[in-house]
Amino acid sequence: MISTYYLQIIILAGINIIMATSLNLIVGYTGQLSIGHAAFMSLGAYASAIATLHLGFPFIAALLFGAVVAGLFGVLVGIPTLRLKGDYLAIATLGFGEIVRIIFLNLQITGGAVGLRGIPKQTTLLWVIAAAIFTLFVLRRILNSRVGRALIAIREDETAAESMGINTMYFKTLSFGVGAFFAGFGGGLFAHYFRYIHPNVFGFMRSIEHLCMVVLGGLGNMWGAMLGAVALTAIPELLRAGAEYRLLAYGAILVLMMRARPQGLLGESEQTGGSIRRKIRIFSRGADTLKKT
């Protein structure tokens, strides 16, 4: 049998795979920079926990309930904010994430600053593996369809995509909603494994962590996002021996990894991902449009 310690790391890695791949759909494939992914995770976590605690939902129903709530909020938030571009979108999603956190800190039903405790432990390793496979399957199906091609077209060039008859607002919102749905799903699994959730667990640093996983693995590459999720879950644990130097090393590793491989660990290989040079051009083009004004 695996010891509880390793089991916890594997489960966390599994949840992080769900978080990273769903964020990859938004950032890597649709090209919309979001740094508020943890907010959807917390919406899913709280909604599913409340469904279990107060409404007596069975586990699977609670998970789906959390995911649907997060997905709905994704659409609601996406409609106004996805009109924004680049870093403006990023800061708006960050702002949304902070607002959610502060509201949860002050609500009665979420337990406020005390947090929500006593959630039954229902997430097992099997559940996490099944959930991760389900997530990857659905994302893969989306990306290999007409929708996926539309999302990639939007990432490559939004104006060109629009002039080709793609309803960019619709597809961006769809991508955001689906990403949020799975983030909520991951949040539900998280809540039912750790049995205690607090708004600050889903703060801005967690969103940043998800983004790091995606970029580190390689944008627009699902294997990359998975690798990034596993790596960034494992690295802090491997560094545990270093105790107080742990986070210091973590920060340095992020810088060094980006210096060594700016395109991410698996940034070059996926067929739908497009070439690196193209990606770099897209991002620097984003910079140029801002610059030229």
């Binding site: 950032v27 403006y88 801005f204 940043i208 810088v255 449009t289």
Partner: protein
């Protein structure tokens, strides 16, 4: 009551403005959200506190030394973490910036420990009172220094040769370098000046709230960034306006709504402004071409 809150908001806002300037200057030139800026602000506060408390350096000298020190930290961060990634994707540079931020925060935690340090105010506590307004000497000094620094920066960017080179590099880095501007040097100067302003804000927050901790950079760093975006990121007057607006909004929300929602108010204002002006208050319209 209202005027009192307004003044309190302006004091807080002027500090946000100083932080926002560091973000906006860097962003204007290399299009990077300098995530480590909040940590540089914290380093500045620590440098000032250590000089004043442990070495008995006179306050204004310590203030200038703290600015210089933080400027050097900013230079180093740029050189080690951002310069190698200048031609890479912007997200790679962003992650590198996040890494630098985590590194610096934990470096401070390691050196100084987690407990907060007291930063005694160097001024005799004195309060000026009129029928509708109470303001302390310290607050007046903070206001004066902030606005002085903002004027100095505006002068530097508008009237000096280096400032002109900075504006040129911000408009188009490649063309600027073709015109004989040493872009690397200009970027270094930008980091130096931006970081020094952040440190000034850090020291003033330190004496205003009388504490300095390794975690103090997190929220103000975020707020400074919000202020920069609120004003239109990359725009220097925008950062000043954004900071003041954010400060006033926050104090008003705390006074008239609820102090628990004070931070939420800052972000709500941000989203509201972006909804109506997607490039910030002073940001100009972006034209898109295929």
């Amino acid at each position: 009551m209202f005027i009192q809150q307004l003044v309190n908001g302006i004091i807080l806002g002027s500090i946000y403005s100083l932080i926002a300037l560091g973000y906006t200057m860097v962003y204007g030139i290399i299009m990077l959200i300098n995530f480590a800026h909040g940590e540089i602000y914290m380093f500045g506060a620590f440098a000032g506190m250590i000089l004043v408390v442990f070495y008995n350096v006179p306050f204004f000298l310590a203030f200038l030394l703290a600015m210089a020190f933080a400027g050097l930290v900013g230079l180093t961060v740029e050189y080690l973490a951002y310069r190698p990634l200048r031609r890479s994707s912007r997200l790679a540079a962003l992650i590198s910036a996040i890494g630098a931020s985590i590194f610096l925060q934990n470096l401070a935690l390691l050196i100084m420990g987690a407990r907060p340090y007291t930063f005694p105010s160097p001024f005799i506590p004195k309060v000026y009172q009129t029928s509708f307004l109470t303001i302390s000497k310290l607050e007046l000094i903070i206001l004066a220094i902030s606005f002085l620094l903002m004027f100095a920066l505006t002068f530097f960017i508008q009237k000096t040769k280096i400032g002109k080179a900075m504006r040129a590099a911000a408009q188009d880095m490649d063309t600027a370098s073709l015109m004989g501007i040493n872009v690397n040097l200009i970027i270094s100067i930008t980091f130096l000046v931006g970081s020094a302003l952040g440190a000034a804000a850090g020291v003033m927050v330190g004496i205003y709230f009388r504490t300095v901790t390794p975690m103090m950079g997190l929220m103000p760093g975020l707020k400074g960034f919000v202020a920069a975006v609120l004003g239109g990121i990359g725009r220097i007057p925008g950062a000043m306006l954004g900071g003041l607006l954010l400060g006033v909004a926050e104090v008003m929300a705390a006074a008239y709504i609820s102090s628990q929602y004070r931070d939420a108010a800052a972000f709500a204002i941000l989203i509201l402004v972006l909804f109506f002006k997607p490039t910030g208050l002073m940001g100009s319209f972006m034209q898109e071409k295929v």
